[in-house]
Structure formats: C-alpha cells, structure tokens
C-alpha cells in the first residue's frame, strides 16, 4: 500500500468519524435537551434578551 492509498483511507475514515461526531452531537442536543448544569439549552437565549449589567445571569459563574 503506497502513501497515496493510505492517505485516501485515512481521509475517508476521518470524514466518517467527523460525520458520526456531528450527528451524535445533534442526537445528544435533542435527546437530553439540557446541558450538564441542568440548564435547558433554549433558556440560553435569555443571555441576549436579559443582558443589562444588573440582570441575573442564566447560570452565574460564581455558582461553580
């Protein structure tokens, strides 16, 4: 097997892996609906809508 053939297999495998990763990520987002902190992804829109400096953060950093 020459280097070009190896590259081709490597490239194909990488593409498949990335596609699986992307679809896995989509499945993960829509099945869990919430991130590790238990915050619904959709509530993150409030980061833009309630963005005055004295508004309460969606998930405050100090809670760590």
């Amino acid at each position: 097997m020459d280097i070009a053939e190896l590259q081709a297999y490597g490239y194909f495998t990488l593409t498949i892996l990335l596609v699986v990763a992307l679809y896995g990520y989509i499945y993960h987002l829509y099945s869990t609906k919430k991130d590790v902190d238990g915050v619904d992804y959709e509530s993150y829109s409030d980061m833009a809508l309630k963005d005055d400096i004295d508004d309460t953060p969606v998930s405050p950093k100090s809670d760590d």
Binding site: I26, S45, I53, P57
Partner: protein, 497 residues
C-alpha cells in the same frame, strides 16, 4: 470616592464605530470609481495624466477590497465585539484597567496599520497576493493587532459573570482563531534581503519586499484556502455573531432554536474550511481536491441555511415588526441575502456550472450580493441598534433610515442582476465556437456587449454609496438627538420621525 452604579463601557466600541463608517465610505467610494472605470475607461485618468499612476484600476482595486474587508468589515466586527461581548458576558470593561488599555492599544495600532496599508498600496508596494497584499512589516503589525484583539476577547471572558458563552461569543472566538490561522499560513514569506540569487547576489531589492514561501500550485492552494476562508471567517462567522445578538435583542424575541444555533455552528466549522478548492476548478491542482471543494461547497448550504432559517423563524408571529421597523427590515433582508448567496455560491461551485461562471462577472456579482446585502446591511443594522445605547439618544430619523433601506436594496438588486447577465453572457461568448472549433468571438466583442451592464453596475454601486452616506449622516445626527431614558432601550430602538 463616588459610588456610581456599574455600567457597560462603550469607549472602544464607539472608536471602532467611527472607523467602520469612515473606512466604509472610503472603500465603497473607491469601489464606485472602479465600477465606472470598467464602464468608462476615461475615468482612469480622473485626476489627469500626471496622477494616472495613482488613479488607475489596478492601483485602486486592492485599496477597495482591503478597505471594505479589513477596514469597514473588521471595524464593524471589533465595534460589535466591544459592545456585545460585555453585554452577554455581563461584565463591564470599566471593571478592568488592563482591558481598557488593551482596547485602546487595539484601536490605535489598528489605525496605524490602516494608515500604512493606504500609503503602501497607493505607492504600489504589494506582494501581489489577492487580499494578502501587505508586505512583511505590515503583516507583523497586523499580527500584533490581532493578538491584542485575542487578549481582549479572552480577557473579558476570563472575568465574566455569565458562566456559559452566548452563541455570538462562540462565533467571535471562531473569527479570532480562524483568521489568525489563515493569515499566518498564507503570509509566510521571506524578505528578499535574506535571499541569494543563482548568480550569488544577496540583499536583492528593497528592504520591504518579500517572496512567498510557497510556489506554483502549492501557492495557489494556500492562497485560496486563505482567500475563501477569509470570506468564511471575515464575512460569515462574525456577521452571524452579530445577527444572533442584534435580531433577538431588537425584536425582543428569543432565538427560535438555540440548539439549532449550536449545531449550525459546528456544522459551519466542520465544512467551511474544505470548500476553498472550488476557486481552483479546472486548474493544475489534483482532481480529487477540486471534487472535494465542490462537494463541501454544496454541503455548506446546510449549516448556512440552519443559521439563516433560525433567524427568520425567530420572527415567527412577529412579522408586523418587519413592516413597522426599518431596523428589523435591514436584518431580515440581510438574513435573506445570506440564504441567497449561500445558495448561489454552491451552485457556482458545481463543476459544470463553474465551466461557465469561472473568471466571469457572475463571480463578482455573487461576492457583492453577499457583502452588500448580508455583511453591509447587518453591520449597519448593528450600528443603528448600538447608537441609541452608546449615545443614550434616539436614532435621529426613522424615515431617513427607511429611505436608505430602499435606495440600498435597489442598488444591490441592480448590482447583482447586471452582473448575472454580464457574467453568463461573458461565459457563453468565451466558449462559443464554430464547427471547426474556432472561437466565435474575440475578447473585445464581449467588452462591447457588456458595456451597458457595467454602467448599470456602476449605478447600483453608487446608490449603495448614497445610502451609506445617509447612514453616516443619521448616526452623526443621532449624537445630538433627543436624550432617552434607560427603559426605552430594552428592545426596539427609539427613533425620531
């Protein structure tokens, strides 16, 4: 010590708003001059024979592209970052002396780079690489400015109160990382003073000249990996960052699907970097690479439309706002033009279509419906939204803004329709031949046929420039318009008649 409540600090945002407007006027004015030079070659001598060296098409062309890309657009990206970044991270720049110093250094060094670019390009000093014309001393200065921008981004993120990063921040980070990588690799060059010729001479040429580290096909590949992804990370990614903040904020509507915004982000990052090969179809680069460029360009429709549809659906049930607010009109049209040019681009990247489209004015038309309709509209809309908030005054005139919207929309439509017709005509004429394979037309035949479309394009560009001057005037007058209370700034921007 007085005990004032904490406020966001828009000093740096205001500085970059200023350069966005000034460099926008400069870049678009040069663009209009170039358009009329193509239609009426006498315009090359607009300032007389003596100054023809400085006013001809080839000297002004890189000034136009660099002024609108690295001047207008990047200033808009910086201005919105220094506004949006603080707000979605819920931290004020005033809370960190270091961030303020970095922000000011960012602005002033950027201005020095802009000045040196204008002088050097007018003087004809260039590396001759498209969109990467700057010689090595300027490249080094660009890298310094970019590193400071990065320190500003990550510095602000470091002191944030909001744990998660809003989707726009992801896009700003991607802009920073993407352009850093592209710029460094494409501008790898060796100053000629370090080179030795075959005859043994050293110290060849002026101290500021350089040669690329790549040559031939490799050079072309790196150049278009850079060139196409400059469109990705300069004209797409940061503009998506803007619309994800400014449209929901101005309309008061939550993003239709935050999850869709996340997967569109990763989709875009995954696909975009591979598409640059479509600039080199039917050239000497390997065939598989050309095919890959085509395929990835077509897949690119999905993440692009993912973001654009997400924005249009954000207006679900609220479409009366589009009729009522010229500011929302700008953003909805921007999003529509984004969908339009991200469909047009992949079509042009199909090999058989590219056989007609390559090197023609259709490509120029495609670039301009993207930048005028999507990038320009979105940056102006962002600045319109920011102006009442940074100046604490209402937008000077709603009717002026509405008039500007229609003038510029007409300008964009004239621009791209004339270029479609010109491009396809050109492509068909170049390949037409008789039964023996002799070409049916000479080059000058196409020039004669295309003349009216070039004139229409010039008019379209001029209308867009007129609209931009109206925008500049509106923002200028906003600085002395009626003062507003904080509660008026929650969502829809306050506007005078």
């Amino acid at each position: 010590m007085e005990n004032r409540p904490l406020e966001y600090d828009y000093t740096i945002a205001k500085m970059f708003m200023f350069t966005t407007i000034v460099l926008g006027i400069v870049g678009m004015l040069i663009g209009v001059i170039l358009a009329f030079q193509l239609a009426f070659p006498g315009v090359n001598l607009i300032l007389g024979e003596g100054l023809a060296e400085y006013t001809n098409f080839s000297r002004l062309r890189p000034l136009h592209t660099d002024a609108v890309i690295f001047g207008f657009t990047l200033s808009g990206v910086f201005a919105t970052w220094y506004y949006v970044g603080q707000r979605v991270l819920k931290v004020s720049m005033a809370e960190s002396k270091l961030l303020m110093v970095l922000g000011k250094a960012h602005f002033w060094l950027y201005l020095v780079v802009v000045a040196s670019v204008v002088v050097s390009l007018l003087a004809g000093v260039t590396t001759s690489k498209e969109y990467a014309e700057f010689e090595w001393p300027i490249d080094i200065a660009v890298v310094v400015v970019w590193v400071i921008f990065g320190m500003s981004i990550f510095g602000l993120i470091g002191i944030r109160r909001e744990k998660s990063l809003y989707i726009s921040v992801w896009y700003y980070i991607a802009t920073f990382l993407g352009i850093a990588m592209l710029y460094l690799f494409n501008n790898m060059e060796i100053p000629t003073m370090f080179a030795t010729s075959a005859a043994g001479e050293s110290g060849i040429g002026s101290w500021y000249h350089s040669v690329s580290m790549y040559s031939g096909t490799n050079d072309a590949l790196v150049q278009w990996w850079y060139g196409h992804n400059a469109v990705a990370f300069g004209f797409t990614v940061p503009i998506v960052a803007m619309i994800y903040y400014f449209l929901p904020k101005e309309s008061g509507q939550a993003i239709y699907s935050y999850k869709l915004s996340l997967l569109s982000f990763w989709g875009l990052m995954f696909v975009y970097l591979w598409a640059g090969g479509h600039h080199l179809l039917y050239s000497t680069v390997p065939d598989w690479m050309q095919t890959m460029g085509s395929i990835f360009s077509i897949i690119l429709i999905l993440p692009s439309w993912g973001s654009a549809i997400n924005m249009l659906l954000t207006m679900k049930g609220e479409w009366q706002q589009v009729a009522a607010s010229p500011l929302i009109k700008f953003m909805i049209l921007a999003s529509t033009f984004y969908m339009f040019s991200t469909l047009e681009g992949p079509i042009q990247a199909i090999k058989s279509v590219n056989a007609i489209a390559h090197f023609t004015d259709w490509i120029v038309g495609h670039v301009h419906d993207g930048v005028l309709g999507w990038v320009g509209f979105m940056i102006m809309a962002s600045l319109y939204h920011m102006a009442p908030r940074v100046f604490k005054r209402e937008i000077y005139s709603k009717s002026l803004m509405a008039t500007q919207f229609w003038i510029q929309t007409l300008g964009v439509v004239l621009y791209f329709t004339s270029m479609w017709i010109a491009g396809i005509t050109q492509g068909m004429m170049w390949r037409a031949h008789d039964e023996f394979g002799n070409l049916a037309y000479s080059f000058i035949d196409t020039v004669t046929v295309l003349h009216p479309y070039y004139a229409i394009r010039g008019v379209g560009g001029l209308l867009y420039l007129v609209g931009f001057l109206m925008f500049a005037y509106n923002i200028y007058k906003t600085m002395s318009a009626r003062e507003v209370e904080n509660h008026e700034l929650q969502n829809a921007s306050p506007m005078g008649a």
